[in-house]
């Protein structure tokens, strides 16, 4: 059973009550929130995600509550609560849906040390994955959103989940977070794109979330092997160009872009070494999505390394 199978009324009832339980990647999340704008976006963006019954174990219960205190008489707020504590500062209530996404990222990055967690996008073709770490503003999400609608499967937009036993990558499959101009870029590039309501004036600018293609969600339990590490950078008017990059340097940069490389210690070092062993590492500059797609297509056609 998926979320779309529930009526809006029942979905709202659960969200306002004991919680709505969804399977998101390998995790079970319970979501509780009385905020109507969150209900609306959730119903659209998470329509195809499996519903779990209440007797299954839930990894994280995320509550996006209305703010309390004197503020609520002046401007309504959204607050992320976990284990009874407020985790972030309160945000305006129309930020509730992006806040839910950030809250889920926080839960995973703070607690899921059964994986090496990289702050990067991951896409896959023919069982081979591209890991794309990038600081904010590098155009990673735009690139990811474009590629995912031109033959690549989305594993994750923000969080790579790398197995500690064999360095395989598990899909998380959450909506892709687009900011500022990239929302319009993707609207043009993917005419049928389904996007959440644009939220302005967040700490990251204007934010909208892009729905994951349904066929990708059907393959949510299919892992991929790391094959390329590509550091993307949007450079206006540049041609799409891959430049080989030092493995040692790439390893350190991936470590810096990890949520828990330091926590995992020796195990983290071993797993990251395995990833770098298996991957060709590149810097990538681009400005036009079509050019980027062509470069990635050529990459995918390379013979598998011996």
């Amino acid at each position: 059973m998926i979320l779309a199978d529930l009526s809006h009324a029942v979905m709202r009832q659960r969200l306002c009550g004991t919680g709505l339980v969804l399977k998101i990647g390998p995790f079970a999340f319970r979501i509780i929130s009385p905020i109507p704008s969150l209900h609306a976006d959730l119903a659209v963006l998470y329509a195809d995600y499996p519903l779990l019954s209440d007797d299954q174990f839930v990894d994280f219960t995320v509550t996006i509550a209305s703010g309390t205190g004197w503020h609520r008489w002046f401007h309504r707020q959204a607050v992320f609560c976990f284990d009874g504590s407020d985790i972030f500062v309160p945000l305006p209530q129309d930020h509730a849906f992006p806040l839910l996404e950030w809250a889920m990222n926080w839960c995973i990055s703070m607690h899921a040390h059964q994986y090496l967690l990289l702050h990067s996008a991951v896409i896959e073709r023919n069982g081979c994955a591209v890991i794309m770490p990038a600081p904010p503003g590098s155009g990673k999400s735009t690139l990811c959103a474009g590629l995912v609608h031109r033959g690549w499967r989305l594993l994750s937009d923000e969080l790579a989940l790398i197995s500690l036993t064999d360095a395989s990558i598990s899909p998380l499959g959450r909506p892709i977070s687009l900011k500022n101009q990239s929302v319009d870029v993707i609207r043009n590039y993917v005419p049928k794109a389904v996007l959440s309501k644009l939220v302005r004036e967040t700490s990251k600018g204007s934010v909208s979330l892009l729905k994951v293609p349904t066929e990708h969600l059907r393959r949510i339990d299919e892992v991929a092997r790391p094959r390329w590490v590509i550091f993307p950078k949007y450079v206006a008017q540049s041609s799409a160009q891959l430049t080989p990059r030092s493995k040692a340097n790439s390893m350190l940069e991936l470590g810096r872009n990890s949520f828990n490389y330091m926590v995992l210690g020796h195990t983290g070092f071993n797993v990251l070494s395995q990833v770098i062993d298996a991957c060709d590492c590149y810097d990538f500059e681009y400005s036009q999505l079509d050019d980027a797609v062509a470069v990635f297509d050529a990459l995918a056609k390379q013979k598998v390394r011996a």
Partner: protein, 361 residues
Amino acid sequence: MSSTLLERVWVAPDTLPTLTLKEWELVLGQARQARLIARLATHFLDRGWMSDVPDGPRRHLASALRLAERQQHEVRWEVDCLCRALRPIEGPVVLLKGAAYLMADFSTARGRLFADIDLMVPKPQIDAVEGALFAAGWICDEQDAYNQRYYREWMHEIPPLRHVQRNSYIDLHHTITPPTSRFHVDGAFLCSRVQPLNGYPGLFVLAPADMVLHSAVHLFQEGEFGHGLRDLLDLQDLLKQFSWQPKFWPSLLERAQELDLGIPLYHAIFHITRLWGNPVPEPLRTGIEAMGPSTLARLLMAWMLGLALKPDHPSCDTRWTGLARWMLYVRSHALRMPMRLVVPHLLRKAWMQRFPETKST
């Protein structure tokens, strides 16, 4: 009063808890809030029970173990770094609490989650130690003049020192309780009985009785009760660790009287007894009883502390918990500072929490 799911794990430590998946969710939440999740995981690991835990909860326990294991390495590294930085200092330099338990290889360090490193040095050495730590990269971030004064004049510590590269913290004390406190202890008494730490010349730990008393007075004075259950478990561990020493218990009672810390010791033993049975040898129990406060104070404290020592998790709250915590918070400040200082201080703390960007004038 009913014990929480988490408390019950340690009430019958050799019985495998049978929990539903819902109860597992609750216990994990309580354990996270109480900073006991790694200890809970260690509890199961040590008894060979991990394979009896359902997959979902087991992943969370395993995650917590990884975090704890990493932190142990980090504490050892920090201690090595500060040992080198403080070599020229005429000490003793005394490790307190978690760092002491780890470096002295106490069982209570297993499954522990660490925060800052607590150090104690003789009061005349504070400036020299602060200078040596500064030279090694630990700086004082505290810019606010009021807060500086709060720490240096009224408290028994200087503002926390942060390492510029590693972002690790050292809390530097000259005794174990504030000079303005009802339970003030002169650091020199403690320094006279410290014991050297093997392999770390210049580093020491408190004597066993002093370690126990520090833990007891810290628990009941510090005011932040979210970690109360963990501190009680630490205390229980320390008592077990030292009980085998032939003169330990009489020396503990004697030292409690000498340092006038009988009341915190009484409260600590009361709550350990309530949860896990009386650890005090029979012949000495009346001695502990005699150290307690008036009957009314006992009843009130027992109620307040019993509620406030539960994990800070919604599943553990009763309608009285908030009130109990607030009363204890105010009481702990009253114990640490005279009343004429408490109210302005609490007002200022509330103000700063609300408006942290406001510069002090």
